[in-house]
């Protein structure tokens, strides 16, 4: 980051931060508006997660400076993201891919 220590470089960064702020505000509005669309649940989930991922990428890339970060950090994060997806999807798949012994919910009340 030593090359970025000049006043001009920081001012440039500040410009970027403001643009990202604007984008995030707009995307938040879009997120809420999108929730009113009449789409199926899985489409809604897909849409919401896409928009959230775009917002997250902006925060991570520009506020957290990941866009210019060293490879050691990027590799650790990629590894983490990989395991994150494993942890999300494998239980999900094993729930749906069951040997037919899944007991359906029972309403007692």
């Amino acid at each position: 980051m030593s090359s970025d220590n000049s006043k001009e470089a920081i001012q440039e960064h500040i410009r970027v931060y403001m643009m990202v702020f604007g984008a995030l505000a707009v995307l938040t509005v879009i997120t809420v508006l999108a929730s009113f669309l009449k789409v199926s649940t899985s489409e809604a989930i897909f849409l919401a997660l896409i928009i959230a991922s775009i917002k997250a990428s902006l925060v991570a890339g520009y506020f957290m400076h990941l866009i210019s970060e060293k490879s050691m950090i990027i590799s650790i994060l990629l590894l983490t993201v990989f395991f994150f997806f494993i942890m999300i999807f494998l239980p999900l798949i094993s729930y749906t891919d069951n040997a037919g012994v899944h007991v359906p919910w029972v309403s007692i009340k």
């Binding site: 030593s2 920081i10 931060y17 929730s35 506020f63 950090i73 650790i76 942890m87 999300i88």
Partner: protein, 199 residues
């Protein structure tokens, strides 16, 4: 004896210790919140059809939307606080850090009203699995906000300012680490908001 690479970067990795350290910590936090998100998915599948949508409809989307904007703003003011330090403008730093603190307080106040309105309508974590994961996710997120506030206060109040005078670079790096943590907390909310309130 100083531990090397606390302030100057190590040549081959290009990193200072605190930057690597905070990113590894954030990686563990990704897995922590990830565990809860995995729970959300599992519980939604295990619940009766429509159950999650029913309980989610009891949440206030307007309050959460405002909170989303508040938290995004606090993220901006946090990165501006760090940028001010890089420009050696300590009073601007204090101003931006102050704004971040105000936003955080506002977030927690709105959260307080959200929670109490649930409780007053007899809605508790025990009411349904949706409410259980909602309170746990937002509660854990809230604890992380409070943790961040404690550290922000440490940098905002005069305790730490001697370090700015003695080693401004060291101070700046520490604020950068705090900033990374704070942006992460914002990131979690960016996912929490649509998942819990809108889906």
């Amino acid at each position: 004896m100083e531990i090397p690479y606390s302030i100057e970067e190590r040549e081959d990795t290009g990193l200072i210790n605190s930057k690597l350290g905070i990113w590894i910590f954030l990686a563990s936090e990704v897995m922590l919140f990830g565990g809860l998100f995995s729970a959300y998915i599992f519980l939604r599948l295990a619940a009766p059809p429509g159950d999650f949508e029913y309980w989610a409809s009891k949440l206030s989307v307007p309050m959460a939307t405002v909170n989303t904007m508040v938290l995004i703003s606090s993220s901006v003011s946090m990165v501006m606080a760090w940028a001010s330090l890089k420009l050696k403008d300590f009073s601007k730093f204090k101003m931006y850090m102050g704004i971040t603190l105000l936003c955080s307080a506002l977030f927690m106040v709105i959260k307080y009203f959200e929670y109490t309105s649930k409780f007053s309508h007899d809605i508790f974590p025990s009411s349904s699995t949706f409410m259980a994961i909602y309170f746990t996710l937002t509660g854990l997120h809230g604890i992380h906000i409070l943790g961040g506030v404690v550290v922000m206060l440490y940098f905002y109040l005069p305790f730490s300012h001697q370090l700015w005078h003695d080693q401004p670079e060291h101070f700046t790096n520490r604020v950068e680490a705090l900033g990374l943590y704070w942006h992460f907390v914002d990131l979690v909310w960016i996912f929490l908001f649509p998942v819990l309130y809108l889906l």
